[in-house]
């Protein structure tokens, strides 16, 4: 599989925060989730990749094209193949949907007006409505309609589902799945709603404190860990080193382990289950073993 995005050694220092040597490579055909707690650097990475805030060092390659200079914005030809939704939208609230659309469409030679109308219909958005009167969910739907109507091949979305109700979130995930049905495409989106990633992600990138903690295939990651449930009386010094993130109630303990086989030998009666991404994320961020 060809890489659709390659990031190498991206660094950026601000007063009070720095991105440290971020490198990853995303193959085409994959939906990648960028996760991490608030302030981990997710938005900063996305903005640095897009050249919206120049990096101090490192390179970014889209679609296997020639590498731009450090900190440069991707060239016009590359930008036209990207669909971008950043937090805050960058919309003028006093504009109607139609006016804002005209502004966007002018920037893309490949703008597809029919496609755009289909998205408006799908989301029941009205062209003459002012942007400031849209609900949060509708604003996101509108932003996606704008990002998807010029035949983009790679979507970069910052928190597309945060703060939205489950129904609208499900609709957005459905949209991303449909987008991926054509070959040669990719999606990179940041989120802290890990259940969305359980549903649709292929790859995961975890960030913390401006660093990349891991980039991994979701299924391999989920296969490596197990959630353990057992009798609190079984917790002893032989067992505890195998467990991370132990929580305990009067009725039992729950923890995460990387060594299910050894644990089963020590505690034959414990329950071992496949974890969710949230279990693993908490395990990493709470400094588990």
């Amino acid at each position: 599989m060809e890489p659709i995005l390659e990031v190498c050694g991206l660094s950026k220092t601000y007063p009070g925060f720095s991105l440290k040597d971020i490198s990853f490579s995303l193959p085409e055909g994959c939906i990648t989730g960028l996760i991490g707690r608030n302030g981990a650097g997710k938005t900063t990475v996305l903005r640095a990749i897009l050249g919206l805030m120049p990096a101090d060092s490192g390179t970014v390659h889209f679609f296997n094209t020639e590498s731009p200079e450090t900190g440069a914005r991707p060239g016009r030809a590359v930008r036209e193949r990207l669909g971008i939704v950043l937090d805050g939208g960058g919309f003028y609230g006093d504009f109607s949907l139609e006016e804002m659309k005209n502004l966007t469409a002018a920037a893309y030679p490949s703008w597809d007006e029919d496609e755009y109308r289909r998205y408006l219909d799908r989301f029941s958005l009205r062209s003459r409505q002012k942007i400031r009167t849209l609900s949060k969910g509708m604003q996101m739907q509108y932003a996606l309609a704008l990002a998807l109507s010029h035949h983009a091949e790679f979507l970069i979305l910052d928190e597309p589902t945060s703060g939205l109700d489950p129904l609208i979130r499900a609709g957005i995930l459905e949209l991303l799945k449909e987008f991926m049905e054509n070959g040669g495409r990719g999606v990179l989106f940041s989120t802290h709603i890990t259940s969305d990633l359980d549903k649709i992600a292929d790859l995961l990138i975890l960030m913390d404190g401006g660093r990349l903690v891991f980039q991994e295939e979701k299924d391999l990651l989920l296969d490596r860990f197990r959630v353990v449930k057992g009798d609190p009386r079984d917790l002893n010094p032989a067992v505890e080193p195998l467990l991370g993130g132990i929580t305990q109630t009067a009725f039992g303990f729950t923890a995460v382990t990387k060594q299910p086989d050894r644990l089963r030998a020590l505690l034959p009666d414990c329950l071992l289950e496949r974890p969710s991404i949230e279990d693993i994320m908490l395990h990493y961020l709470k400094g588990g073993k």
Partner: protein, 124 residues
Amino acid sequence: MKILISNTSDAPLYQQIKEQLTDAILKGELAEGDLLPSIRAFANDLRVSVLTIRRVYDDLEKEGFVKSQVGIGTFVSTGNTEFLRESRRRLVEQKLADAIRAAKSLGISWQELQDMMKILFEEE
């Protein structure tokens, strides 16, 4: 065809899917020439990563169960029937070995096991 993914099994997702597909082919639920789902559609339905399905298809192709054609998709293609029959035999042996292991762990004797098999065999 049914594929069920267990959340309590120790087997990796990839292995669970591959084994069930292989079973379906060996049992004839999937016939020669049948088109398998596209990687993305299959991944969406099973809620696993496209990378996992790709690995399963690649492996099945290496083992001679399927063939993939660029731009069209992945087909069941077992080709060699002798090989298929041998594989079916192996499947039976595998399941018997599982049963014997389970019987031993419960202290069931060889005689008891034989009686059990005889009754079950005649019931089918």
